[in-house]
Symmetry: C2
Subunit: 569 residues, 2 copies
């Protein structure tokens, strides 16, 4: 029977799961494991500038490398706690991330030694107690006998539930040998099978309802949200959409779950904030097939969904709702193909709004780069298979309303909404897109306020030869907050930086690996976007776009004018 070091057992599992990158920061309690990572043939170490950025990177990697997971390695206490906001974001947004923490030896843990990185009071369980709030499973490697089971258990949970898990690896067990034969059994990745009777009951009910609506000539629309992506149901949704021909819409968090060049794609539904035509079409439908819905404030136009329960059929990863009836243990991944098989193409030639109209440039008489002009203009710049990362703020609200080409992937963090996330996430996303051979570019849109939180990670992109295009909106501070409160308050101001010298300082010492630009007018930006050398993105590029500090995208203005959500003082 062959044997393997515990550290290498972890790496072997990650290799099986197609993980190519591990993010993190070295610390004295993880250095032994890092030797194994550095020597591993397929899992490569990406040393980040700090741990929060590494967690964001693992999150971005997992979002783009669908069906795999992101991995972040930190050290005991200081490192893991710095990463915890990134882990919590992955929990909130349903992103599979494994957080490995190098911890003191089992002997030191038992002795409650007063080591550095401890709280000084012997509480060796404090960090785990914090992690329990933000991960769905925790595994502690404490001996050779149970190590493999702990590793396999947390990885399985991570894959099936698509949420972060936590694994502690003590310094003294990294090189302990355990049997390798467990590795021959692949980890289960699928959801448990649906309850057959419940599934059948739900299916018959849905077929009857949809059939009835069709006969009556009523609309049936499909509304796709983030969980369809997170729980690996893209293909199943696509098959349903294409076969039935029902008009299809997405939520903001579901953007690019459905091809936006598909002829029956009608746009973004977000309650009262939706374009009026979209709002009318969705809310007046006889039946709404809602797939993978997450009803958070920003995803629902501040809770203004106007879809009565009596017209909504909801497909979730682990249950189904048909109007007022819930069918537990009936998940969408298995149910949707059965439904697609039973439904016929619609005979109801309902028109859909033309989402491409959102790419029409507004006719503005000045040269100022407005929010209303910028996003449609960028829409024309996007290419198939681009990965487009939007920072929380004007970028997110602006990008969500403009069309993206076939195969483009929109990456945002609308529910968790942690500013600065997009920089780390872009690093992970760019790695995944490169490793998987997407063939498009990785594009980041972010404001000057947000990028300051996590800016150092640009240096890691340079170091690894990644070539994202970064559109940096220089609008002198936290514009999303100015929309909410304090438009002229100093607390929403930030320092202005010399953005075009940033990449040089962060590692492109000779200025040959990157290019930076400042654009102040529509004409300047358009000319740059039309330059093939720029558009082909063979180098890392940063474009500082000068914009007005009070300007905001349409959807953000409406959202914040509604005066509820967080800003009810």
């Amino acid at each position: 029977m062959s044997s393997i070091e515990i550290g290498n057992y972890i790496l072997a599992r990650l290799e099986q799961l197609k993980v190519r990158r591990m993010f993190g920061v070295p610390g004295d309690f993880n250095l032994g494991f890092l030797d194994l990572v550095e020597d591993h043939s397929t899992v490569d170490w990406v040393g980040n500038c700090n741990e929060l950025n590494s967690a964001y990177a693992a999150d971005g990697y997992a979002r783009v490398h669908e069906t795999s997971l992101g991995v972040v390695l930190t050290t005991f206490g200081v490192g893991e706690l710095s990463a915890i906001n990134g882990i919590a974001g992955a929990f909130s947004e349903i992103v599979p991330v494994l957080h490995i923490v190098g911890v003191p030896s089992t002997t030191q843990q038992k002795a409650k030694a007063l080591l550095h990185h401890t709280l000084g009071d012997g509480r060796y369980d404090a960090y785990t107690k914090a992690a329990e709030q933000f991960t769905i499973a925790q595994g502690h490697i404490t001996d050779k006998e149970t190590a493999a089971a702990q590793i396999d258990r947390v990885l399985t949970e991570c894959l099936i539930k698509a949420r972060p898990v936590y694994l502690t690896l003590p310094t003294n067990l990294v090189y302990e040998k355990i049997p390798a034969d467990g590795l021959e059994i692949p980890l289960p990745r699928a959801q448990p099978a649906n309850d057959a009777d419940a599934e059948n009951a739900a299916l018959e009910e849905i077929v009857k309802i949809v059939g009835g609506a069709e006969v009556e000539g009523g609309d049936v629309v499909i509304l796709v949200d983030a969980c369809a992506i997170r729980h690996d149901a893209r293909k199943e949704v696509d098959a349903l959409v294409r076969k039935t021909g029902f008009p299809v819409y997405v939520s903001p968090m579901g953007k690019t779950a459905v091809s936006e060049s598909y002829e029956r794609f009608g746009g973004i539904y977000m309650g009262s904030i939706s374009h009026p035509d979209v709002k009318h079409k969705v809310e007046s439908a006889k039946v709404i097939l809602s797939i993978g819905s997450i009803k958070s404030d920003f995803n629902t136009g501040n809770f203004t969904y106007s879809i009565p329960t009596a017209r909504a059929i909801e497909f979730h990863s682990d249950h189904t709702k048909v109007f007022h009836a819930t069918f537990p243990a009936v998940g969408m991944k298995q149910l949707l193909p059965l439904l697609t098989a039973r439904l016929q193409p619609t005979t109801n030639a309902v028109s859909v709004p033309n989402f491409n109209l959102n790419a029409v440039l507004p006719d503005e008489s000045n040269s100022i780069i407005s929010q209303a002009w910028l996003w449609p203009r960028l829409s024309h710049f996007f290419r198939p298979h681009d990965v487009i990362v939007a920072e929380t703020g004007t970028s997110n609200f602006g990008l969500m309303e403009v069309p993206m080409p076939e195969g483009a992937l929109f990456v945002s963090q609308m529910l968790w909404g942690s500013i600065g996330w997009a920089v780390g996430s872009t690093l992970g996303a760019a790695f995944a897109a490169r490793d998987l051979g997407f063939g498009g570019r990785t594009i980041l849109c972010i404001g000057d306020g947000s990028i300051q939180l996590t800016v150092q990670e640009l240096s890691v992109m340079l170091r690894h030869g990644l070539t994202p295009i970064i559109f940096l909106l220089n609008n002198a501070g936290y514009t999303i907050e100015r929309c909410i409160r304090g438009p002229e308050r100093k607390y929403n101001d930030i320092s202005n930086w010399k953005w075009t010298k940033l990449l040089e300082v962060l590692g492109d010492l000779d200025g040959v690996e990157s290019r930076s630009y400042t654009v102040k007018t529509k004409a300047e930006l358009s000319a740059l976007l039309d330059t093939p050398e720029f558009a082909n993105g063979k180098k890392m590029q940063l474009v500082e776009i000068m914009m007005e500090k009070q300007d905001a995208p349409r959807a953000l203005k409406i959202q914040t004018a509604m005066g509820s959500g967080s800003y009810d003082f």
Copy 2:
């Protein structure tokens, strides 16, 4: 009866406690309170680049503004979790920090609304559960009736126990009016009174033991550690030291608790790592009066203290130990003056090692800036009332062994040891030193690996006209980790940055508010240090010091060569 808004009640209490700066990052759940902060006449808002840095800044502020506290304001979920490592560090190192978190309205909390910055599952208590691990008290403002009591309770705990506390402030209660008359009663700041009988028993016992040792001609030495600083016992220690004339030593974490220019100051005791003469003097003493001791690994030469319990008298904030006997509820702040009054000047003319010998420059034949040369050289550069901040790593181990002038303050984080901490901490320390009119300079010593974690905070220093001198050790990576493991491993490498252009990029756009330098030889660095314009520190300055990547201070080499602590694989 006059009334006051809850938000202003908090600010009034902070003003009473001499808080001049509040650190943090705006977020939509704290903007209402930020209006009050911005409009307040004595508490000024310092907007940081990110929340971890703001927590570090609050920590640094509290360390320098002794008897006051540090304050950090973040937003719900995303912001507070980003700060949590900084808060945990303040817990570990016994630093009083108030963490205020702007949270959703009480209505939204009760409804468990699916707001942005939530985990998506309605768990509104998750962040508090995490905070409970790293703060000694948590207060939740939930209504007008109990708000003042919650605020007063957590502030009192923070002051008395010198550890972080957590306070949530919902958006809808910031402007609610409550009675202001409670503000007329100052918050209690002192430890509870010692138990009189126990105090007397301990005192008599200690007087008898010390007297006996004196009569027998045995040494009595005083060993001062961090808790003497944290629990406001500097003056009491100084009085004891000066009256008795007993030789006095400090631990690494206790450095500058005692004046290093005092004639009976003998140096740094850290077990086996101590200079042999110091080790012998301390360990052979008949009685050791140990004040405010924290027996962590790095503070004790990796647990190599050789002080038998039968010769140690320990003074702590809330108890006293006389050899094997513990006296609960007998704290040092009140006991030490009683002891000083009872003891007489020693008649035992014991010699003390000459700590100033550590400032002698080694006779090296080359021009390379070695660790052995750098720290003594900087020692000559230090001036009275300088605040000297040491990053965990070679800076900390190097600086702790060299003399610092009268009134200089050494700020380090040896127990928690979170790399990157020193940048944020320097920001807070520089503010406190300026606000209090110290008259010295704020000096940061940090490596190129560490500064990358938190580098953006330099921009906040520039923005506020702070003028720290930053010695940046460019030794191509994580040198402290190379000492522990993987001296040539890639995971200990980092990107090289264009350090001398950094301040320009981070906000000194015209290059007039700061100066940056690179020095490669001993002569270059010495010449710079001797330049009055540089030494007077009227502008922010950054000095990139080129050093060898494997070179390390004496104490660090011995510490890591011991092969225990974290690095026992």
